[in-house]
């Protein structure tokens, strides 16, 4: 499934780092690159449905602006000319931002999210908004009120969620980079299911200003990429202090691309026994254990560790996240923006019907769960209790990180499941997050990289968890793992349908058809 090396290299086979270098060197134009990706989207997305909206003209304008600056001898940013797909819960001024919900279907953003502003300054090209589970609530992207995204590796299966659109877009090479958001695994799990790199930075590393909030103490924006070098490039651009977000830390952003080249010999890896359970998919288990052997080959030491409160994580998350969501989503009331019911007789009905008609079932379920957990009489038993257990979970990690530098686990207990397979029972769906949730609760950085495939050719992901603000170490380990394996180079079979298109690209001045 690797691309044929004898074909001329097409733009959509390049990494983001290569695109930046070659545009800088004027080997080809930013416009040609963006056109190639738009063509690829036009061909592939009919089958994959990753994009809620493609920003065709605006993207070309941005690309041409990069070319114009280069022609004038001006400096351009570190991501100049690179197309980036953006999860449809991040505000881009002038563009719709729907959160894949009926309640925001026609909403147009009036300002840029901070990460978007940073990407603009870096010269990136926004190629489109990608599909997600409604308001980022879900693990399969099936909760989207707009459309169902398919896993590029098997179109009858889900891409994971909630950032399924972004993961699928990068997996199918419809964009070299994408942004997602991760509250309980929403970047890492779809990355694993789609065979791409997905990274949730430490809580407080990246500004959440302009990310439509789900759970404010858990949400983080992060990169999707096809390799660690590209992930590092994107992370460096979006990370950093922001006055608009009081939860972002004042810490300098390291040069991740320099840092990933450092050696990993002597790094101490821990495998938590609670993450290698009996019920787990045997092929996932086998792929992960094989990957651990590769890590040992790199000179890291591996030992078994314990995170005793692991089993409580899901329960804690499904109290805290819905509680925070019930507060964050109260702003969608039909008053200042969004869907307003056409049939209300008074203000109360306006609120109740707008929200009842505008929100999908999973969103309503979580709002109610959260409202219940916070309501008088139940607050102590649920919300306050969950906050205390959150402390115990964090303490587990603090203890373990005295003995190891990186924790390695499978990202998802199973490979991608079939569309519709888990929609009947919400709890079944929630279990998809068991390995990813702890990291959001403890505020740690977490990364997923491809580490193999099942017999059915479905991707398996490997997860690295690190100490707060040690993104460098996770990226470094990922980078070295990529050097001795080639999982990250595999492309899904659906891409070869687009094989024809590769022949027509390649010329720096390819005319617009």
């Amino acid at each position: 499934m690797t691309d044929n090396d004898s074909k001329p290299m097409s733009f959509t086979q390049l990494t983001a780092a290569e695109i930046v270098r070659k545009i800088h060197a004027k080997e080809f134009t930013a416009e040609a690159v963006t056109m190639a990706y738009l063509d690829r989207i036009r061909l592939l997305d009919l089958q994959i449905h990753a994009f809620n909206e493609v920003f065709a003209d605006r993207a070309l304008e941005q690309a041409k602006a990069v070319d114009a600056r280069l022609a004038r001898g001006e400096t351009v940013g570190p991501l100049a000319g690179v197309p980036v797909a953006v999860k449809d819960n991040l505000l881009i001024r002038g563009e719709h931002c729907t959160c894949s919900s009926k309640i925001l279907q026609n909403f147009v953003a009036t300002y840029d999210a901070t990460v978007i502003q940073k990407l603009r300054e870096a010269g990136a090209v926004f190629i489109g908004h990608t599909n997600l589970d409604e308001f980022a609530m879900g693990s399969s992207t099936e909760n989207s009120a707009l459309q169902v995204t398919r896993n590029p590796w098997d179109l009858t299966r889900i891409p994971g969620g909630s950032s399924g659109g972004s993961a699928a877009a990068v997996a199918a090479r419809m964009a070299p980079l994408a942004l997602g958001s991760d509250t309980g695994g929403s970047i890492r799990q779809p990355a694993a299911l789609c065979s791409v790199l997905g990274f949730k930075p430490t809580y407080g590393r990246v500004s959440r200003f302009g990310l439509i909030a789900f759970a404010s103490s858990l949400d983080q924006i992060g990169p999707f990429a096809t390799n660690a070098e590209d992930g590092a490039l994107l992370l460096r651009v979006i990370a950093g202090h922001d006055e608009q977000d009081s939860t972002v830390v004042h810490r300098p952003v390291p040069d991740y691309n320099v840092s990933i080249q450092k050696d990993v010999k002597g790094l101490r890896v821990g495998l938590p026994k609670e993450y290698f359970i009996d019920g787990m998919d045997k092929e996932v288990d086998a792929a992960v254990r094989q990957a651990v052997k590769e890590l040992e080959g790199l000179g890291v030491t591996v030992k078994e560790i314990s995170l005793p409160h692991t089993e409580a994580c899901l329960a804690v998350y499904y109290i805290l996240a819905p509680s925070e969501a019930s507060a964050n989503l109260s702003r969608f009331d039909g008053v200042r923006y969004g869907y307003r019911t056409p049939s209300s007789n008074n203000l109360l009905e306006l609120y109740e019907k707008s929200r009842g008609e505008g929100f999908g079932p999973e969103v309503k379920r979580r709002i109610m769960l959260g409202t219940y957990a916070l309501s008088a009489g139940y607050y102590d038993a649920y919300y306050a209790k969950a906050q205390k257990v959150r402390t115990l979970i964090k303490q587990d990690f603090d203890k373990v990180f005295e003995q190891v530098d990186v924790i390695v686990t499978p990202t998802s207990p199973t490979p991608a499941f079939k569309i519709g397979e888990k929609t009947a029972d919400p709890l079944q769906m929630y279990l998809s997050d068991i390995f990813t949730i702890s990291c959001n609760l403890a505020g740690l950085p977490g990364l997923s990289i491809p580490c193999g495939f099942t017999q059915a050719k479905l991707p398996v992901g490997l997860q690295f968890l690190g100490r707060p603000f040690e993104e460098e170490i996770l990226l470094r380990l990922a980078h070295h793992f990529e050097r001795v394996t080639d999982w990250h180079k595999r492309v899904p079979p659906v891409s070869t349908v687009a094989g024809q298109i590769h022949q027509e690209e390649g010329s720096a001045t390819a005319p617009r058809a």
Binding site: E243, A315, Y318, Y339, L347, Y372, A386
Partner: protein
């Protein structure tokens, strides 16, 4: 605490959350919420007597700024009102708030 959610509980919570639900939704959510809350109830088995709560993983300090708008960065009134379901002049139009 074992969760025994009744339809009345669901109606009460829906009212607090300002959500209009159909009868079918009330039935469905009652069953689903009960099953989720039962799963969550496992937390009661953990001893948290002397454990402080974690509201945020980082120590937070309040951040102050001048009370000034910045329409260029954050959008002007016209753009904001374009999203309004109903507007009149520079104002959002809503149902009567005071009887």
């Amino acid at each position: 605490m074992t969760a025994k959610i009744t339809k009345e509980d669901v109606e009460h919570v829906a009212r607090l959350a300002r959500l209009a639900l159909t009868e079918e939704e009330k039935e469905r959510y009652t069953a689903q919420l009960e099953s989720i809350l039962e799963y969550i109830g496992q937390l009661n088995q953990l001893d948290t007597k002397d454990v402080p709560p974690t509201t945020h993983v980082l120590p937070l300090r309040n951040v102050w700024r001048e009370d000034q708008t910045d329409p260029e960065r954050f959008g002007d009134r016209r753009a904001i009102l374009k999203n309004a379901p109903e507007a009149e002049g520079p104002l959002f139009k809503v149902k009567k708030v005071i009887e």
